[in-house]
């Protein structure tokens, strides 16, 4: 534990009246504790949020260390205000065994910038055929609770039912990438007006909505927990509304890019805007924003998906889908939801921590709580420069955009990971 004491002066905790936070030994101390020898952080005008938790991060290690590593992705996360990220299983080799998830978990500990919580694959090799050893991953050092074949949908209804049922034994949750594969063969972008004009094969909204509806019914039938990854359509929101009203234990996430960007972006044919599920229409964006505010969509998750230059500087159809997200997520959510700090704290920290079972995370920085928080300057505006990213990749769709809110400092259990807007290591 840290021997340094930090005094964060004049900070507004999720928008409340300014106060001082004294941090030592990993926790926030009672007001009035001795601040002797404390390193003072002038937080005048800054807002403290519980450290952000990302339920959907691609760190690419092992396998594509040219695009991202656990360390570089952790640094990008810390700079974005995150203190925990859930690392998706579609690595090479796939995180479908206790060995691989423990390796990722260990790499996260070594990097020491955020808590890296591995997600395990649902099926062996993400192939959608046989269940991976979910129990072995759950009882490994990585204590996996979220399982996902992200990038691939567990489309076989019987296999999905079994997976949902099986993980009940250790309070696991299946995070589904909802995409009926037969409806999206060769799909390149949202099916609609723009795809018709651009001559790119369409990815119809119904391919997502049909799977969410099916999975919600399955989860209800077996009394299991379902988490829906990157919800992207207005119709999906309607399905979620019904499922929640029926008492199904379903949670859902939305990405910053689906809250901000539309399929119009594809008109440039620049694959930096290619993502799966694809960017949708303005009507979808509006429905997603409202659903996030209302809580029908529970959380924001980045789907941070770094890609090497050669996988993006090419023809649209040949490019890999995905975009960076960790360093821009908070600014975009601030832009979209406005400075409703308790809401942002809930959607980006408290609820994702609860879904992931990360009990050290998601707490407001108050006396007795873990000193795991981030300090944001809401007045700052900054221009996104892809070359300035801590990620190894450059595929941000926000290049050149000016965004509100900047992370000034991030603390993980009393240790700064970011100070003065720079990563400490």
């Amino acid at each position: 534990m840290s021997s340094t004491t930090y005094l964060v002066k004049g900070v507004s905790v999720v928008g409340a009246e300014p106060t001082d936070l004294l941090v030592r030994d990993g926790v926030v101390l009672e007001a009035g504790a001795s601040a002797q020898n404390a390193q003072v952080i002038d937080a005048d005008g800054l807002v403290a949020l519980p450290g952000l938790v990302d339920l959907h991060t691609h760190l690419r290690e092992p396998g594509r260390e040219d695009a991202e590593t656990v360390e570089s992705g952790s640094r990008a996360a810390a700079l974005g205000g995150y203190t925990a990220v859930c690392a998706m299983a579609n690595t090479s080799p796939v995180a479908d065994t206790a060995g691989v998830v423990e390796q990722v978990w260990r790499l996260g500990r070594e990097a020491g910038l955020v808590d890296v919580q591995p997600i395990g694959a649902v099926t062996v090799g993400l192939a959608g055929q046989h269940l991976a050893e979910l129990g072995a991953m759950a009882t490994s050092a990585a204590k996996v609770r979220i399982f996902s074949d992200d990038g691939h949908c567990v489309s076989d209804p019987r296999l999905m039912r079994r997976a949902l049922e099986y993980v009940k034994a250790f309070d696991g949750v299946i995070a589904q990438h909802a995409e009926e594969p037969r409806l999206t063969e060769g799909a390149q972008m949202h099916e609609g007006e723009i795809s018709a004009r651009l001559g790119l094969t369409g990815w119809p909204a119904v391919a997502e909505e049909a799977i969410i509806a099916r999975d919600a019914l399955l989860a209800g039938h077996v009394g299991a927990r379902l988490h829906v990854c990157h919800v992207s359509t207005a119709g999906s929101v309607d399905v979620l509304r019904q499922a929640k009203a029926a008492g199904v234990r379903v949670t859902a996430e939305v990405t910053p890019h689906h809250l901000l960007l539309t399929d119009e972006r594809a008109s440039s044919y620049d694959p930096v805007f290619k993502v799966n599920p694809p960017l949708r229409t303005q009507k979808d964006v509006a429905a997603l924003r409202a659903a996030l505010a209302e809580g029908l969509i529970d959380i924001v998750a980045t789907d941070h998906a770094p890609h090497a230059m050669e996988d993006k500087e090419c023809e649209w159809a040949y490019a890999r889908p995905g975009m960076l997200g960790l360093e821009t997520a908070l600014s975009i959510v601030l832009d979209v939801l406005g400075p409703d700090w308790p809401l942002i704290a809930d959607r980006m920290s408290r609820t994702p921590a609860r879904i992931a079972g990360l009990t050290d995370h998601g707490h407001l920085p108050a006396a007795g709580a873990p000193a795991t928080f981030t300090l944001v300057d809401p007045a700052a505006r900054w221009q996104v420069d892809p070359t300035a990213s801590a990620s190894r990749s450059r595929n941000t769709p926000y290049a050149g955009m000016t965004l509100p809110g900047r992370v000034v400092a991030t603390f993980l259990r009393g240790e700064p990971t970011v100070l003065d807007g720079k990563a400490v290591k």
Binding site: Q188, E191, G192, E193, I194, S195, A196, R197, L198, G199, L200, T201, G202, P204, S268, Y269, D270, E310, E313, C314, E315, W316, A317, Y318
Partner: protein, 306 residues
């Protein structure tokens, strides 16, 4: 004039008409003894073909040569292109060679747009994936004008696999720009979702060929690949031909003056019967000849000849 021709939508009515007028002038010159004009002497035109399309490549090659340009053919076969070199690296090579224009045919929609962001020269889209083929639309408009005297006010039916057709997209955009009335016709599975708002607010969609035929001045038949039936776009080639193919009986439903067009290559017996393709109404052979004139005009205008 515009710098690149990536989409038929890049041309407003004035520019499109200028291309057609220029093509007519160039056709006059070509029909005289002197087949070659010195206009583009010393300029380099690269034909970059990622798909086999001998007819389009030869058409562009003839067009460039008649304007005295140096032509370099960069085809996917037997070049670094087939060895997995990226489009960007190829673009940088062409840039280093000092290409003034790159004519590109590519299986991926939007590849010419990407190319245009990497080279200084003009890029001409010679067909990209299921997106567009703007010079085909120009030569079709040229053919309509020479046969029927105008484009504005004509009713043009475009029939067949609109979903996968770059010819259809470019034609809808160009013809509506020039004031024609356009109806796309085909089985609903082969008409893109939202095609109307996507391409033109005035575009009409019909699933009934027989109902539309008596009212058209031009019927343009699109190629329909037999393999589409394996993807359940339609049940069988026989049923397709029966519902949407143009045979002699259907041709008789057309007004006296109406013409039949096809961008080629045709699938005889599928979307068109041989007796229709070879009839006096058919413009299929002229379309090929007109292609050279129109492509000469495009290169001439893009490269600022004269």
């Amino acid at each position: 004039m515009i710098k690149h021709l990536l989409s038929a939508a890049d041309l407003d009515a004035q520019h499109a008409t200028l291309v057609l007028d220029t093509a007519a002038e160039l056709a006059n010159v070509s029909s005289r003894e002197v087949k070659k004009l010195p206009t583009l002497r010393g300029r380099t035109v690269v034909n970059l073909f990622y798909e086999d399309s001998t007819r389009t490549r030869i058409s562009f090659e003839a067009a460039a040569k008649r304007l005295s340009a140096d032509v370099i053919n960069f085809s996917a076969k037997g070049s670094s292109v087939s060895k997995g070199e990226s489009l960007k690296d190829t673009a940088l090579t062409l840039q280093a060679m000092g290409a003034d224009a790159v004519v590109v045919r590519h299986p991926a929609s939007g590849a010419p747009h990407r190319l245009a962001s990497w080279v200084d020269g003009s890029v001409v889209n010679a067909g990209d994936g299921t997106h567009e083929h703007p010079t085909q639309a120009l030569l079709d408009a040229y053919t309509m004008r020479s046969r029927l005297g105008r484009v504005a006010g004509l009713h043009v039916a475009i029939v067949g696999d609109v979903l996968h057709s770059r010819v259809a997209r470019s034609n809808v955009l160009l013809l509506t720009t020039l004031g024609a009335k356009v109806t796309v016709i085909g089985p609903p599975t082969l008409i893109p979702v939202d095609v109307g708002p996507a391409l033109s607010p005035d575009l009409r969609v019909s699933y009934d060929l027989d109902a539309v035929l008596p009212d058209v001045d031009v019927v343009m038949m699109l190629r329909v690949q037999r393999e589409r039936m394996n993807d359940s776009f339609f049940p069988s080639t026989r049923e397709y031909a029966r519902r949407y193919g143009l045979d002699a009986a259907r041709m008789r439903r057309l007004p006296e003056h109406a013409i039949v067009m096809h961008p080629g290559p045709m699938v005889r017996g599928m979307e068109i019967t041989p007796e229709v393709a070879d009839s006096a109404r058919s413009t299929i052979v002229e379309q090929v000849a007109n292609g050279v004139s129109v492509r000469m005009a495009v290169l001439y205008l893009l490269l600022g000849g004269k």
